[in-house]
Symmetry: C2
Subunit: 120 residues, 2 copies
Amino acid sequence: MTTKVLPLLEPEAVAACCPPLSERPLTAEEAERTAVMFKALGDPVRLRLFSAVASHEGGEACVCDISDVGVSQPTVSHHLKKLKDAGLLSSERRGTWVYYRVEPAVLAAMGALLTRAGSA
Amino acid sequence: MTTKVLPLLEPEAVAACCPPLSERPLTAEEAERTAVMFKALGDPVRLRLFSAVASHEGGEACVCDISDVGVSQPTVSHHLKKLKDAGLLSSERRGTWVYYRVEPAVLAAMGALLTRAGSA
């Protein structure tokens, strides 16, 4: 069984992207880049899948682990790919299955966007 | 000039909604409720407008203050209403203009969703 690490998006680029939303107005370019991440979580099924991966034992999950969100396995795969394209998940094929894992840096960057600039 | 405070959504309800996404899988109901907020920020123009309001002097802004995002004033109003419907902004009419303000509790709740359960 070979292990193939799929190319990842660069979480550092996202992390370095943007100040808190309350610090100054985002530029058009910053908004384009950041909206992609929020949009990826703006769907109930994707949000549940993301949460299922993020909370799964060991911090990773394959499609085979996530079957209780009421949609078919191809639909699950489709949504996981969208989360990956948005940079929120990374993936790694091991044998038959692709395992998904949350990108902590991207999650932290999104959280930082939502903090209040300056004060609490 | 009369001051009319428009009804607000209940930020407490949102704040109390959900644990961090990495703590346990969200239920369908939690995901439905939470996805609305992420979806509202999942559009570049809305994200810029939200950032413009959040970073505006005094923490509030009217349509008259936000004219540099490259869309028409009716479009700005439309997007501000969507942000309000999602619970991210509150509004208050004062004379001719409606002033928008960020709901800090909702922002904090979204930030909390994105924190890592248990550890950093």
